[in-house]
């Protein structure tokens, strides 16, 4: 090795046939290439840990410092560096495979090529997020197969829809019965000045199709109500709630709990915003947080109270971030946590919210509950958790 790093111990290297033998004897195989290389083919029993992550993550990947490990890359250069870093952390039985993965395959070493999950065009378009370990090809495939419903194609829905579409969510549904108004343009960045008077869902579809023709945009040109809510949300994986009134929020909550759809909630007022994620029966629902709605005079809408243009941008993107985590099954969603953003002082704050065992929507003994002034059929599903 010409560019072997300085190290207190010599790096033990093994030939490809030796590596194949050691693998057969139970050595762990550590692949220190990049995810994009891995996706084009890898040793079936190998663990992927790119070289740049070795120092930080080897201890969680293979906690046993005495483990017998064959480290390989594409040609045998990165694996030497990886072994040096591992030795510095006390991994004494790690060896580097000298030779290429082509040698490995020629010598009859086990190899598998994962099924292509993405087309070449998709690989190019989404390359930056394919590099993220928590996404990769599988995660991107999942996003492409996902369906997200946005209630409201306005202030919160605009930034959320733009970024969800850009990143390749397969289907975006938009529920809105409004038309674009001049006063919307200060914050509802899906819409443009030449589309004043155009239905918001149509304007949104034009913008989103131009951004990513691959995403299917479904227009639901209607206002969410107790009558249509279940039909609207049934076909979607995650709901983004950016509605402007309490009636709709309670109607959506109760149907989402019933159909077990996670709802990412956002609300804004002048300089302040709130975000939380309701995962039915896993955390609280909107009714757990606020059992009843305030009288109308205490709940002014944007049209009355005003809203800073950038605020829905920030809050809507926090909602989009929640959607990604829910769809990918990674990270910690804001379930049971209410995040508050104060734009005036640029401060985030968080309070805990609890699932109310007596909640009429998701409580332990869910019974017939009058919802939004309407009688509702009894349903007796009880929490499994």
């Amino acid at each position: 090795m010409t560019n072997q790093p300085a190290t207190p111990r010599p790096i033990r290297e093994v030939t490809v046939p030796e590596a194949i033998r050691l693998a057969g004897e139970g050595y762990r195989i550590l692949d220190v290439r990049e995810p994009t290389e891995w996706d084009q083919g890898h040793i079936p029993t190998a663990i992927l840990l790119p070289l740049a992550d070795v120092a930080d993550r080897i201890e969680e990947t293979i906690p046993d410092r005495n483990a017998f490990i064959v480290v390989h890359c594409a040609a045998g250069v990165r694996s030497v560096r990886a072994v040096a870093r591992m030795q510095a952390l006390g991994y004494t039985n790690a060896v580097s495979m000298r030779g290429s993965i082509f040698d490995w395959r020629r010598a009859g070493g086990a190899w598998e090529v994962p099924q292509a999950l993405l087309t070449p065009a998709q690989q190019r378009r989404y390359s930056r997020q394919l590099l993220i370990p928590e996404i990769g090809q599988k995660g991107q495939r999942r996003l492409l197969d996902s369906r997200v419903l946005l209630i409201g194609a306005g202030g919160l829905g605009s930034p959320a829809a733009l970024y969800l579409t850009a990143s390749g969510i397969g289907t975006i549904g938009l529920v809105d019965d409004d038309v674009v108004d001049e006063s919307n343009l200060q914050r509802q960045v899906l819409h443009t000045a030449d589309r004043v008077g155009v239905p918001k869902t149509e304007s949104a579809r034009m913008t989103l199709n131009a951004l990513n023709p691959e995403t299917r945009v479904v227009e639901h040109r209607e206002r969410l109500s107790a009558e249509n809510v279940e039909r609207l949300i049934a076909g979607y994986d995650v709901i983004v709630d950016g509605t402007d009134n309490f009636d709709t929020r309670y109607v959506l909550n109760d149907a989402a709990v019933k159909l077990r759809k996670p709802v990412v909630h956002g609300s804004i007022y002048r300089w302040d915003g709130q975000v939380t994620t309701f995962v039915p029966f896993d955390g609280p629902c909107y009714r757990c947080m606020y059992p009843t709605q305030p009288p109308e005079e205490l709940a002014p809408a944007c049209a009355v109270a005003g809203v800073l243009g950038v605020l829905p941008g920030i809050v809507g993107l926090l909602q989009a971030n929640e959607v990604f985590k829910l769809l990918l099954g990674v990270g910690e969603p804001l379930a049971g946590r209410l995040l508050m953003f104060d734009a005036m002082s640029t401060a985030f704050d968080e309070v805990r919210i609890w699932r109310d065992p007596a909640c009429p929507a998701c409580g332990d003994a869910v019974q017939a509950a009058p919802v939004a002034g309407q009688p509702r059929a009894a349903y007796t599903e009880v929490s499994a958790r």
Partner: protein, 91 residues
């Protein structure tokens, strides 16, 4: 003396202040102190002497409904957060 965060929809009752200080060892006493100085706050936060169901009160990050309600203790360095439901969204 604890700090009380006033949410945007209630700030008109506190002369625009985002944070005010209040005396009291319990939520009840803290609110009582606030109501003396900001009488308009009372009807926005309570109904018939009880916390309104659409207003949540937190001591630090804990909802007092899941602690001791109005009797929940408030320490001198605690932050009390009043949080009514906010509707504002898209349109």
């Amino acid at each position: 003396m604890s700090n009380v965060r006033i949410p945007p929809v209630l700030r008109e009752t506190t002369g625009g202040n985002r944070t005010v200080t209040a005396e009291g060892a319990t939520v009840d006493q803290v609110l009582g102190d606030l109501f003396v100085r900001y009488p308009a706050l009372r009807e926005r936060v309570t109904t018939d002497g009880e916390l309104s169901p659409f207003v949540n009160v937190y001591v630090n990050d804990r909802d007092v409904r899941y602690r001791d309600g109005l009797a929940t203790a408030v320490g001198p360095d605690d932050t009390v957060i009043l949080l009514p439901a906010m509707a504002g969204g898209a349109r």
